[in-house]
């Protein structure tokens, strides 16, 4: 391949197109730097960023003085603006940590105090009556709660997709299916050996999520110590999406923030996660036991939650750092390697602020801030969302482009035009799940039963490939075999 003969040369290579890598690449695109975003899978947001609680935490959980605490509070404050610039749905719905005993009530007060120290705004402890008035479906066993009005919900993969699109529009190269297998450092230039050829860069930002320890180790830095923690979730149908309006947490334990019940920005109800450390890094299988735990514990907070309205279940992985804090900064072994590792929860909430911290660490290593990109545009235009338009807007749109008049996904009302747009967008969709995350086609109650084959057909047509080369999520996840006899 071309790239193997003439390795592309960059100022900065960001490894990992999760929310941290994408937000960092976007920020880098506001400077005069040649940046490449390197991703080992077929799409962005394929790790922790695609499967998590989709929460913008207020910032009272982390211990005062930690990077987690600082970046969470900052990130939470930045999120509404970032989401507006990137046209990503965000909702400031507030969160509640619910206590079920006097002992848990004292935890609530501790969290309140911690929140005050962390600088969390609009935090208050509320009693049972106020809680029940806010959330009528909450368990009658609840004693009181911590109300955090600054908390919100956001779609994590949409944020990652939008940030990548915006970065690419501002000049960043996106390389998919380029898994880094080794890195050489010679004369101040790194050569990344990848599954899709060599890439050269002066600086590396290691945002490889659960594999950030592996990347650091390639350059002799074995300081990154991670445990992969799996969490299982259920997504419930939109018909029960308004069961609660706030994000409902239970009191935190050593393993995390416990099982939550929350609405999503798309109107579904999300329950989970469990927390189980796993030995195998990419194992996103759900387990009968894990799903059972989610079912039982979610009902403790909100008794009327029932998985009879479940439309799917999934497992998300988080890279838990054994130090219990984010690892952001230049590697002690090689200062041209910037670590952005161990960014577990509240990583999504911290992402806008983490990107700033990461880029600052890069500039420190570079010995100064880079020049600004004079043509940087922070705005990513909102893609067509047919389902949100008025009848007049719909009619006008179809008159302009008839592809918006053909509904492909009937559960979510997604048009052919939106699917074509998702394929041809910067760093666009290449597989069925990529279409699903960008447009919601197949995300509804039939889970692609009807539209799946049509999406395969459109992908094949637009990418000029035969249908049996179209995959569910890259690799060998092909959907079809040979033609019938």
């Amino acid at each position: 391949m071309f790239s193997e003969v003439f390795a592309m040369s960059y100022d900065v290579a960001v490894i990992g197109a999760g929310v941290i890598g994408a937000m960092t690449a976007r920020l880098l695109s506001s400077y005069r730097l040649k940046t490449v975003l390197v991703e080992k899978t077929n799409d962005v947001a394929m790790g922790a960023s695609k499967a998590n609680s989709a929460i913008v935490h207020a910032g009272f959980d982390a211990m005062p003085g930690t990077m987690k605490a600082k970046l969470n509070v900052q990130g939470c404050a930045m999120m509404p603006t970032v989401c507006k610039e990137l046209s990503v749905p965000y909702k400031n719905n507030g969160s509640l940590v619910v206590a079920f005993s006097d002992e848990e009530m004292s935890t609530i007060h501790e969290l309140y105090e911690r929140g005050q120290k962390n600088g969390v705004p609009q935090l208050s402890v509320i009693d049972r009556e106020t809680l029940r008035a806010l959330e009528p479906n909450i368990s009658p066993e609840a004693k009181g709660a911590l109300l955090a009005k600054s908390a919100g919900i956001v779609c994590p993969y949409e944020l990652t997709i939008a940030a990548t699109e915006n970065a690419v529009s501002n000049g960043v190269d996106f390389r998919r299916n380029a898994g880094v297998t080794s890195i050489e450092d010679k004369d101040g230039v790194f050569t990344l050996k990848t599954t899709d050829g060599d890439i050269q860069a002066k600086y590396i930002i290691d945002a490889a999520g659960c594999h950030s320890d592996d990347i650091a180790r390639m350059l002799g830095d074995d300081s990154v110590s991670l445990v992969v923690r799996a969490g299982e979730y259920y997504v419930l149908d939109r018909s029960v999406g308004d069961t609660v309006s706030h994000t409902i947490f239970q009191c935190p334990t050593a393993m995390g923030k416990g099982i939550l019940v929350t609405p999503t920005v798309d109107g579904n109800l999300l329950i989970g996660p469990t927390a189980k450390d796993i030995p195998e890094k990419d194992n996103v299988a759900t387990t009968a036991q894990g799903l059972e735990t989610v079912r039982t514990l979610a009902m403790k907070s909100v008794p009327c939650v029932s998985v009879r309205s479940a439309i799917t279940s999934f497992t998300g992985l988080r890279a838990h750092p054994t130090t219990d804090d984010f690892i952001i900064g230049a590697s002690k072994v090689n200062n041209r390697l910037i670590l952005a590792a161990g960014i577990e929860s509240p990583g999504l909430s911290s992402a806008p602020a983490a990107a700033v911290a990461i880029v600052n660490a890069l500039f420190e290593a570079m010995g100064g801030e880079a020049d600004k990109n004079p043509v940087y545009n922070p705005i990513r235009e909102e893609p067509v969302r047919f389902r949100h338009l008025s009848d007049e807007e719909r009619a006008a749109l179809i008159a302009k482009n008839p592809a918006y008049g053909r509904i492909i996904c009937r559960c979510e009302t997604i048009t052919e035009g939106e699917i074509i747009d998702a394929i041809h967008a910067p760093a666009g969709a290449r597989d069925v799940d990529g279409i699903k995350r960008r447009t919601r086609a197949g995300m509804g109650r039939c889970q692609g039963g009807f539209c799946g084959s049509k999406v395969v057909e459109i992908l094949a047509r637009e990418l000029k490939k035969p249908e049996n080369e179209i995959t569910k999520f890259g690799g060998h996840s092909n959907i079809l075999f040979d033609k019938t006899k």
Binding site: V284, A285, A288, A310, T312, G405, E457
Partner: protein, 419 residues
Amino acid sequence: MIKYDLAVVGGGPAGMAAALEAHKCGVNKIIILERAETLGGILEQCIHTGFGLHYFGEELSGPEYADRFIEQLKDTNIDVKTDTMVLDISQSNVVTAVNKTDGLLQIDATAVVLAMGCRERPRGALSIAGTRASGIMTAGTAQKYVNIDGYMPGKEIVILGSGDIGLIMARRMTLEGAHVKMVCELMPYSGGLTRNIVQCLDDFGIPLKLSTTVIETHGKERLEGVTIAKVDAHNQPIKGTEEYVPCDTLMLSVGLIPENELTKGIGIAMDPVTNGAVVTEMRETDHPGVFACGNVLQVHDLVDYVTMEAQIAGRGAAAYIQDKAAFENAEYISTTPGNGVRYIVPQKMNIHSREDIKLYFRVSAVYKNAKVVLEADGKVISSKKKVKLAPGEMENVTVPADVIASLAKDSTVCVRVEE
């Protein structure tokens, strides 16, 4: 806004039969709105035979059965719009639809027939543990890939659920050269038609494993295998009975769900058992002028019954268009499912009806040599002996016109199984 007497939502067997029947009854301006590219609905991908034995007295393939109605439509002035999706039906029966050529369509209809059919229950609704590999699909999706798109969706196949589509696909994939390893069924009996078990499994030596389910899927990219296990009387997997079965495809035939999003959007009363609307003997819902028929009303076992039900709805809609006042004078009583009966359609019947009313129902378990008993006001009207009753097969019993004439506002009509 375009004015129509009748708008039919869905151009499958139910929608076509309802429109044709209304036309036959003298309704002038009728439009069928179909979301697919062609009329015929799911019949288009059902290339096996077995359709029409009851209605036409001959054995037809799905497309042939559909064709009989498509041909009849050509000889009428019924308007048909395909590739057209209905987005909304208003309280005043204004139907909003969308397609590539007309853009946004608004149809002011006197009456509406809902005939949207049903969809398959997906994997997500089942909570099967394991990976999210490709190769897990509903049997109907697989059927479309093979019969319409001409691609093989799998080679080594396990089917979960012995509903009719699952059984049909076991045979279809075998004929295409795939290896169907087994059909697993959670219940101690099959939910499919007996003739399909014989012709699709037994004839090909495909094992049907009853009281067995899939508890886990394996494989990171493409499916590599499933773990199956026996289940106890509460449908819970029994420890120690787990068995790993290598396969590249898991097909699901685990139930059909009527597609009632539009129905619920209007605020129509639903039957929690059928997941369809509550209807009268005319198949009118509780929203005046809106009728429902076919699989959107109740999941049928045979298309022949869909046709017959749609004709009732078509006649009902015609009667409504021609004489609304008669509908206002109706007095309804509820039909009650008794012992062993899961549900009855229609759920309501007009005591002023002058015609026989057929009550369709399904039983809740397998019965041998049992009696189907029809009671009115506690009095046995009929009692019919049945060699076999199974949940997979729809049954019916007729309430004669003379019995209806004797009913009052507080009367009860009940169907039950007597062992």
